[in-house]
């Protein structure tokens, strides 16, 4: 990075309020040619708001933006694009039923020219995708693409317009590690071609890997701007979190009796997703079992069996020593199984229901939330209020539709909902996906507290750091097979990674104790 490079973008004292909330409080920073600036901050710190102002989707209450020395008119995406600013949104803005090419050329020519020049556009897209290592076939429907490929289309949309400044909002949140590496290669290529990049993230290791400079936001304020070479992860985390960001302490586990035991359980393959291949697993009181593995290797069928959604075709399940004959979600809940589902939006909550309704979603039948077929709203509301207070769910009140909550607060409500029932078994499927560090530490401490109360916990996660930090026992799942049990600190991340890639299973030790 050339430190004398010209400034291409300058934000001056940007302030934006939503009602009482000050989302951006007089934020100023600048970007030089060929530079990657990481915009770091927790969820709700104001990063996306700031970039939406830059890209003309919101209008700032005060402050100004200059691009290449010219003031940028506020609230006008077209002006931002014309000035050479492109944005890759966190939630992709693509039309699924249209082709890659159509998505890219949309709006790039005046609406009133008589025809689309499809062939010229296709050639240019091919040329760009070669230059920037963005493999894509222009005539494929976007709906058929993987998440990583869709992101490439988003980047191509910006490059096709010859943008000079590229904003990426949490680009790695949806990518696999391999796809993240590909993205970084593309970004380096873009820098080599003279672009400047603003990279929004709350993942510290990525910020350290890709950026030249880090700008940190906290509660809408700019709290620091440092060269990446002059800082480290700990310092950045401290800046981002304010009060220190220590993960919870972990006391040694006192393991009790087995509660839920799966023996030689198999399920059929579904499409290309492997089913379980004769898995045996015992969830014991006071113990966290971590299930490591790349998503789609059998985690879903296993979670469905533990959560009562499916009954296995072969093999047996026993609960507290008794073999289960009938197994439904309601049976599972009745038997003290708490479920934190993988997708809190789709299966964890009903987004237009309010917090009260969501809080009683699993237990509205019978006492204490209904009697004689009538719901007891008073008790239900008290329960919701109780969760809100105890689990620090930031919200206007129990009557708020849950879709208005941030991911972290939604997850806290789910956590409260299941843990307040004093569960014996907790199924935590990707419990911290998409949450910021503060919320992650909170969820982890609650899971540990449940363990110390004597609950058996099955933690399913793609994040190996999380598995290693929390689990008393680690199993790796790959292609529907379960590795032997590894004790805490027995295996290094690299060794677990080898199991995750599917090696080691063919040695005949696949059945765990």
């Amino acid at each position: 990075m050339d430190h004398d490079a010209p400034t291409v973008l300058c934000l001056d004292a940007i302030t934006k309020r939503f009602g009482k909330l000050v989302a951006n409080d007089a934020i100023s920073f600048s970007l030089r040619k060929g530079e990657v600036v990481a915009l770091l901050g927790e969820n709700g710190a104001g990063k996306t708001t700031l970039m939406n102002i830059l890209f003309g989707q919101y209008t700032a209450d005060s402050g100004s933006v200059e691009v290449f020395g010219n003031p940028l008119p506020p609230g006008n995406s077209r002006a931002a694009l014309d000035a050479g600013v492109g944005m890759v949104h966190q939630h992709f803005t693509l039309a699924d039923n249209m082709s890659v090419l159509e998505n890219i050329i949309l709006g790039t020519r005046s609406l009133f020219v008589p025809r689309l020049d499809i062939n010229a556009a296709r050639d240019r897209i091919k040329e760009l995708s070669e230059t920037f290592q963005l493999a894509i076939s222009p005539d494929e429907k976007v709906g058929n693409l993987t998440v990583g490929e869709r992101q490439r289309v988003e980047i191509l949309k910006a490059l096709y317009r010859d943008v000079r400044i590229l904003i990426l909002d949490e680009p790695t949140a949806v990518l696999t590690p391999q796809e993240t590496n590909d993205l970084f290669a593309t970004l380096k290529q873009a820098i080599a071609n003279g672009l400047s990049i603003i990279f929004i993230s709350h993942k510290l290791h990525e910020v350290m890997a890709i950026s030249d400079r880090v700008v940190v936001l906290r509660h809408g304020k700019l709290v620091g701007s440092v060269n990446t070479t002059d800082t480290n992860k700990q310092a950045l985390a401290a800046m981002m979190m304010g009060a220190n960001a220590t993960p919870p302490n972990i006391a040694p586990a006192t393991t009790g009796a087995p509660l839920l035991v799966l023996e030689n359980v198999s399920t059929p393959n579904i499409g290309t997703a492997p089913g379980l291949k004769s898995i045996s697993l015992a969830l014991k009181a006071g113990q966290i079992i971590g299930l490591a593995g790349v998503s789609g290797n059998g985690q879903a069928p296993l979670a469905d069996i533990v959560g009562g959604v499916h009954f296995p075709h072969t093999g047996t399940i026993s609960l507290n020593g008794k073999t289960i004959q009938k197994w439904t979600p309601r049976e599972a809940v009745k038997n003290g199984i708490a479920r934190i589902p993988e997708d809190r939006h789709k299966t964890g909550t009903v987004s237009d229901f309010d917090l009260t309704e969501n809080a009683i979603l699993e237990r509205y039948v019978g006492a204490p939330f209904s009697k004689g077929g009538w719901l007891n709203w008073r008790k239900s509301r008290l329960f919701a209020k109780d969760i809100i207070a105890k689990y620090d769910v930031r919200c206007p009140g129990p009557d708020t539709p849950i879709r208005l909550l941030s991911g972290g607060n939604m997850q806290k409500l789910i956590l409260g909902r299941v843990l307040e029932a004093d569960p014996k078994i907790v199924l935590a499927n990707q419990p911290v996906r998409g949450l910021d560090i503060g919320a992650v530490n909170y969820v982890h401490s609650q899971l540990l507290a449940a363990r110390d109360r004597g609950a058996a916990i099955l933690l399913i996660s793609e994040d190996l750091d999380e598995i290693i930090a929390l689990s008393d026992i680690i199993h790796v799942i790959a292609d529907g097979q379960l590795s032997p049990a590894f004790l805490r600190n027995q295996m290094s991340p690299a060794e677990l990674g080898i199991w995750m890639s599917g090696q080691g299973f063919d040695t005949g030790v696949a059945h765990a104790s």
């Binding site: 006008n76 077209r78 039309a95 039923n97 949309l106 709006g107």
Partner: protein, 314 residues
């Protein structure tokens, strides 16, 4: 046997094309609205208003094509009302649409009474006359069916081609389709979703009104109450039947019209001796429902149909 005779007669196919023409206009109109993401249930009322406006313009002395233009303009005004309420204000498209239908229908009947307070039977106008296309109209069967129609019918077929080309071959059509698939994608490319959607609804409503005007200016030569008679609702189904594609929608309109033309003729055959005529009246609708069930399973609904878009909303 008698049915085969009917199907092989030029007059049957000519009637089918004639019956299809108003449906083609209105179906195209609805299709444009829905492709941009707005369901326009004002269609039935806008057709009534168009039928009256075109006829009234000609009755008061303008030329036929000015009459068509007047009908279109009136339709576009109702489209402006509909789109103002549904697009920038984001109101329920169902409620607004039905409201526009009620308003347009009642306002038309009111205007009719104001314009012609004394008459018992509505006056006739000199409607569009069939215009034989040289050479083509001499082709056996096909000629009289397709090429001895009124210019208003030819316009319907030309419009299918034009709408198809605009939707699939121009930047404007791309923007309209994208607005119906994911308005956020349109906004992110610096275009105005509001302008595109309102424009589509206004133009689409203009086409609906032309469909209504066809009834009073080409199919018949006068205006009656209830003359639109549910054709607007049929067009909404035809859009689904056509999987939101102009060519397929044209096919659906002709198919429905053929059923309709067929049932009138079957009523005059020996079959009618044993079967009550109501059964024949039902036939086009029943066959349409069956066709709809079969076709709509693979239909491609615009993903953002009936989803309002507000800039800057999370």
């Amino acid at each position: 046997m008698e049915i085969i005779d009917i199907l092989l007669s030029a007059s049957f196919w000519a009637a089918a094309i004639r019956i299809a023409s108003p449906l083609i206009f209105a179906t195209l109109g609805e299709l444009i609205c829905e492709r941009a993401g707005v369901l326009n249930l004002g269609i039935e009322g806008i057709m009534v208003a168009g039928a009256f406006a075109g006829w009234m313009a000609v009755y008061s002395g303008t030329g036929l094509w000015i009459g068509v233009g007047t009908a279109m303009l009136v339709g576009m005004l109702f489209g402006l009302l509909h789109s103002t309420l549904t697009v920038p204000f984001g109101l329920s498209q169902h409620v607004v649409g039905l409201g526009v239908t009620l308003l347009a229908t009642s306002a038309t009947y009111y205007a009719y009474r104001l314009a012609l307070p004394e008459v018992t039977s509505p006056p006739k106008i000199q409607a569009f006359q069939p215009w034989d296309i040289p050479l083509l109209s001499d082709i056996p069967l096909l000629g009289p069916a397709l090429f001895s129609q009124t210019p208003f019918t030819y316009l319907a077929f030309i419009l299918v081609l034009v709408v198809s080309l605009v939707l699939y071959r121009t930047p404007l059509g791309l923007a309209v389709r994208a607005a119906g698939e994911n308005p956020a994608a349109v906004a992110a490319q610096g275009l105005s979703v509001t302008a595109i959607r309102m424009g589509a609804v206004i133009i689409g409503s203009g086409f609906m009104a032309m469909g209504g005007a066809f009834l009073t200016m080409s199919a018949f030569d006068s205006f009656f109450f209830e003359m639109v008679n549910g054709r607007g609702w049929i067009c909404i189904a035809l859009v689904v039947f056509g999987s939101w594609k102009p060519g397929k929608a044209l096919l659906g309109a002709v198919l429905f019209a053929a059923f309709d033309a067929l049932q009138i003729r079957v009523q005059q055959t020996s079959l009618a001796a044993d079967i009550p005529y109501q059964i024949f009246l039902m036939m086009p609708y029943i066959l349409s429902i069956l066709a709809l069930v079969l076709m709509s399973r693979r239909a491609q609904v615009p993903a953002a149909l009936m989803v309002p878009f507000n800039k800057g909303e999370r």
